[in-house]
Symmetry: C2
Subunit: 410 residues, 2 copies
């Protein structure tokens, strides 16, 4: 695994540092420090909405601040919720302002923001139910056009469609999106949704996302590509409430989706630090409990499995990001699925991840002496860097895992 | 079910019978009899190959003759095997002559013949293994061109590709077709195979066929259609060695595949008349037994389930055919899956099916008296008919399930 991480995530670089007059900065001490990972380490950060919109006060606000600090200390990406039922509970009554607050907060702190999702049968708008299929299609397309346009520049990455494999056969309750998908077919529907999003933000990164990792999803992606749909990244959920997949299954899933040679995002990753959900539950949403406590033993398991999962994914050349689902306990299903406990304290998984993401996989400030020609050589993780010399700073990026020769002018 | 059968499989017809001078045949007794079903009642009839090529002698020959008679008494379609490993065990050493014998025998007896399959990873030619992917593709395409062309007029219906859902991830043993499919993708592969077959026989009916009835196959069909592949019928296997699906599952499968509005063939239907295969077996081929006897109790179950399965499928407007897999016991997996026992005697399932196919769902010779204008009215199953009057006969067809007014000239 480590050799793959070395190969796919790091680069050797020889940097020639020039003074402002374009002559080499020879025989000088400089400091190099990493400021950002290229790889996306993200989390579902739904909690930022009430926090950034000033809905918390007193102790609640302090706790939210603490969580927000832990988020920015570890991560460089955040997923914000665009569930239609909540974003537009009554037609025309939008949460645009609150979502913009949260997105701006993220961007100010160097977090890339992804919107999730633009089209999904679950948590879709109730008010679609009284419409004809043609009207639902029109409303869904218009919703995508509006939100992608409204957030352009703030959110340039979207889960366009969620769980399309099950979409037309979803039978838990009637909803407009399942109806529409049954009528027009998955691929046709995906095509229209992607095209609507693309038209409003041509430079956005557009994902398809699913929990299904069987050949059904594999074939759906193939069908979409054959139908000419431009998918920027394949989103794979890995909610492991019923137990860690293990390295073998993870590698098998990666192998299955690698053949498209498209970026892969692990969009929704969960490992619980308490009792596992019973294996007979098929739809995780069916498991409703009052209390689902985190336990010391569970937290140790969670930490071990989290590290193994992140290492497995970080080693794979096509994976470009991992999003942890629910930074804190008590989110979806009230599961102990956070990296942070309900009281705001960090679990071992948080601490161990921090050791990797800002430790083993990170270049802390380091001193170098430039040579006669102003050059220094080092090996660093892909991402953004800062060079400091005599009080002057200059930033640069390392973007590709190949030996690089580059120039930086102070 | 019966009202659906009435609606989808029968037609009311008013026939005006004309004499050779084009005047009405008034007030005359005529006999109408059905000679063929439009619906395809078929069976895997691999046994016809040694039989029609004169490989049997003595008692074996007599038994084969008996089986062949039972085949033609009940059915109007036969599936013949084109497994590449057997059809061309050494490159260029073909079984074309034997297969033509069998196909001609069928056609002479009014059986429509389907070839199965042109492309499959299981039982594909061993000698592909030493080839490059480009060579495998070339060989597979050439095989399709050759066989579809050689059998044009004898075989105009083909299972072009078999089990493509699992094809690229099949991991039981290395084979050329899995390699190729992994490399080029399912849809791309299906497209090339269908196009190769279509080019050699534009009027052939070309099927995709699979045992997978999950959304994976549904999505694959959708992907193929979106990619512009012309599929004439969707083939669905229903090998029920582990127990009858039941009406509910059958209807669910039918509903899933009905949305394409394409004909559906139940291409491989099995119900055993003995012990069920244990449920933990995933690949049916893994179940290898020396003895798997038919039992009286099992035969009664088999008969009941067979009738229910056929009634369910015959009632559905998109189903155009059902093929029973292995007419006689002792075929695939040595299973008691036949309608006929090893000793050649008929099981209850055979007798009950015969009562339906040539009884309840069949118009036996019936007398009618023509009216003043030569007309008679009756309700019949779709298919071919013969009209007999004063020693003269004339054939006619009933093809659509709507009230028909038609003329027959003697």
């Amino acid at each position: 695994m480590n050799s793959e991480i070395r190969k796919n995530r790091m680069t050797d670089v020889t940097l020639t540092i020039l003074k402002s007059d374009n002559t080499p900065l020879a025989n000088q001490e400089v400091i190099i420090e990493q400021t950002r990972h290229k790889f996306l380490f993200g989390a579902a950060a739904f909690d930022l909405i009430p926090f950034t919109s000033g809905e918390y006060e007193g102790e609640k606000k302090e706790q939210a601040e603490q969580r927000a600090n832990k988020l920015t200390a570890l991560l460089n990406a955040a997923t914000l919720p665009f569930y239609w039922a909540r974003f537009e509970p009554q037609r025309g009554k939008l949460m645009t302002v609150q979502l913009k607050n949260a997105a701006k907060w993220c961007i100010d702190r160097g977090l890339l923001v992804k919107g999730h999702p633009l089209c999904w049968h679950t948590l879709t708008a109730d008010w679609l139910l009284s419409m004809s299929s043609a009207e639902i299609l029109q409303a869904q397309t218009a919703r995508i056009q509006r939100d992608v346009s409204d957030f352009r520049g703030l959110i340039d990455m979207w889960d366009v469609i969620n769980e399309a494999v099950i979409m037309p056969v979803f039978d838990k309750y009637d909803n407009g999106i399942t109806r529409l998908c049954k009528e027009m077919g998955r691929i046709n529907m995906i095509k229209i949704m992607f095209e609507a999003a693309r038209a409003e933000n041509p430079s956005a990164s557009l994902l398809i996302n699913d929990f299904d990792v069987s050949p059904a999803y594999d074939i759906l992606v193939e069908g979409c590509l054959e139908a000419g749909i431009r998918i920027d990244a394949i989103g794979i959920q890995s909610h492991m409430h019923q137990g860690y997949w293990g390295v073998e299954k993870t590698l098998k899933v990666l192998e299955q989706f690698s053949r498209f040679n498209l970026p892969i995002h692990f969009t929704e990753t969960t490992l619980v630090s308490g009792q596992l959900m019973p294996p007979e539950i098929v739809d995780l949403n069916d498991y409703q409990v009052q209390e689902w406590p985190t336990t010391p033993e569970g937290e140790n398991h969670q930490a071990e499995e989290t590290i193994l999962h992140y290492k497995t994914l970080f080693a794979h050349p096509l994976v470009e990001g991992i999003t942890w689902w629910d930074l804190s306990d008590g989110g979806w299903l009230n599961a102990p699925a956070g990296l942070i406990r309900k009281d705001g304290s960090s679990k071992p998984a948080y601490q161990e991840l921090l050791k990797l993401v800002k430790g083993e996989w990170w270049m802390s400030p380091a001193k170098f002496m430039t040579g006669e020609n102003g050059e220094i050589s080092f090996t660093g993780f892909l991402g953004e860097y800062r060079l400091i010399c005599n009080g002057k700073t200059q930033s640069f990026s390392l973007n590709e895992p190949n030996s690089l020769v580059s120039e930086v002018q102070l």
